[in-house]
């Protein structure tokens, strides 16, 4: 039940064999909705827990930023997964994924307004009341902004974190994507974020397509994102960094090289 530390990787069934053979691994993340709460843990995850590897449940469908109250059944599932994995914390997104019953199929950005801050804060508090462990919140990558924005990204996040006591799950690939697609200086944003409140960091790959940078999680981590990892660690190194890969899995040597690059950029020990 130790907190995330060092270089980790998002555990997915497709790469369970690869993950199981990483000798120095201390930390993985699992998509919370993919973990059944009846029956045994997925093979591989149980084995990692047996080795003392920290497993953090990462929710993707709570819709904490939805105007409607968060679904208690989804919160209960997340809480149960945290218990089953003896997790030190769980994480979710500052985003909404459905509205009026219609599913978007992905994380959507919120308007940076006081009304949206209030909606997120209310849902985060409802969630925290039911969770056995702390919650870390992740700002997402988006291609577009809302016309009614009142706050900038740093103020928007700070208001949410201050009102809820949640920690930050900072995704540097999202920082890169947002700067590239919506404008702004990514390093200047790092300077305005409460880096001492980061529980861990996400790093993922993406690709340029149609004039936009897409945070695909199915492409290699670009050098610009690794540079941001370096800039972040030079300011305040987070306790842990996690590589997210969600498909189009490369051969094991390529994936090991990405983990090694993360270790090199952050100064953490290699896990491969």
């Amino acid at each position: 039940m130790t907190g995330p530390s060092g270089v980790g990787i998002g555990w997915r069934p497709e790469i369970a064999g690869f993950v199981a053979e990483l000798p120095g691994l201390r930390f993985v993340e699992v998509v919370a909705e993919a973990v059944p709460v009846t029956g045994p843990l997925p093979p591989g995850l149980a084995e990692l827990r047996g080795r003392g590897v920290t497993v953090v449940p990462h929710g993707v469908r709570l819709s904490l930023g939805g105007a409607e109250p968060v679904d208690p059944a989804r919160v209960a599932h997340l809480a149960r997964v945290a218990e089953l994995l003896d997790a030190p914390l769980v994480s979710e997104h500052i985003a909404f994924v459905r509205a009026g019953g219609l599913e978007a199929g992905h994380l959507l950005p919120l308007p940076r307004t006081r009304e949206a801050v209030a909606a997120v804060v209310a849902n985060v508090r409802r969630t925290q009341e039911q969770l056995p462990v702390p919650l870390a919140l992740e700002p997402i990558a988006a291609l577009f902004d809302w016309p009614e924005d009142e706050l900038d990204e740093a103020d928007f996040l700070r208001e949410i974190l201050d009102a809820t006591g949640a920690t930050l799950l900072l995704d540097v690939a999202n920082v890169h994507a947002n700067a590239r697609n919506r404008g702004g200086d990514p390093v200047a944003l790092l300077d305005r974020l409460p880096l001492d409140r980061v529980s861990y960091v996400h790093v993922a790959g993406g690709a340029e397509r149609g004039g936009f940078y897409h945070d695909t999680h199915t492409d290699p981590v670009p050098p610009e994102v690794l540079d941001l990892v370096g800039a972040l660690c030079a300011r305040h190194r987070p306790p842990a960094l996690l590589l997210e890969r969600d498909g189009h899995y490369p051969p094991a040597p390529a994936l090991r090289a990405e983990l090694d690059a993360l270790a090199a950029a952050s100064g953490f020990p290699v896990v491969t």
């Binding site: 998509v31 909705e33 993919a34 993707v60 469908r61 939805g66 105007a67 409607e68 909404f96 459905r98 509205a99 009026g100 019953g101 219609l102 599913e103 978007a104 199929g105 992905h106 994380l107 959507l108 308007p111 307004t113 009304e115 949206a116 909606a119 988006a142 291609l143 577009f144 902004d145 809302w146 016309p147 009614e148 697609n181 919506r182 149609g210 004039g211 936009f212 897409h214 969600d246 498909g247």
Partner: protein, 181 residues
């Protein structure tokens, strides 16, 4: 992001939202940018992204369109995981075929989306042999009326698609005859 299916309650709610999302509907209409109605604004945005509703007022069209296409691409990938033979049989044409069919059509989940697409392709004689075999196998195993989630068949059954014949007995499915090639 491939969470488990979320069941009937959301489906019923989605019906409601689907009606609201009709072009010209109150919530999805392109007029006005009301303050203080986050729920309506979110509903209008999601409807524009996944249900063919017009772009809500004030948004920059090009970035939202890029997000809309990215969502379709993600959905295509998820359907391909549920219907690997159908997607593989279409190969390079998979993305365009899926996009043409799915654009403006809200999802019923990856299993049903792929099932509906395979049936649509069969109707216009465009279902490739591997896809026909996958469809026949699915139809022998499950009962699907196109409106409700598929259910496993309890009685022995046979199903055909594109010359392929699949049979199911005691829950086990076998492809009896391959599709015409």
């Amino acid at each position: 992001m491939s969470g488990p299916d979320t069941g009937h309650r959301e489906e019923a709610a989605a019906d409601l939202a689907g009606r609201r999302a009709e072009p010209g509907g109150d919530l999805a209409g392109g007029r006005g940018a009301p303050d203080g109605d986050l729920a309506a604004r979110q509903t209008a945005l999601v409807a524009a992204l996944v249900a063919g509703a017009p772009l809500p007022a004030g948004f920059a069209p090009a970035p939202v369109e890029a997000a809309r296409v990215a969502l379709l691409g993600k959905r295509a990938g998820e359907v391909a995981r549920h219907w690997p033979l159908l997607a593989a049989a279409l190969g390079d044409a998979w993305w365009n075929t899926f996009r043409e069919w799915a654009d403006g059509r809200r999802t019923n989940g990856s299993l049903r989306d792929g099932w509906d697409l395979a049936r649509a392709l069969r109707e216009r004689g465009a279902l490739p042999p591997l896809g026909a075999e996958e469809l026949a196998t699915r139809e022998a195993a499950g009962r699907y009326d196109g409106r409700h989630p598929p259910r496993p068949r309890r009685l022995p059954a046979a199903a055909r698609a594109g010359g392929a014949v699949a049979i199911q007995f005691a829950g086990r499915v076998r492809l009896l005859r391959p599709a015409r090639r």
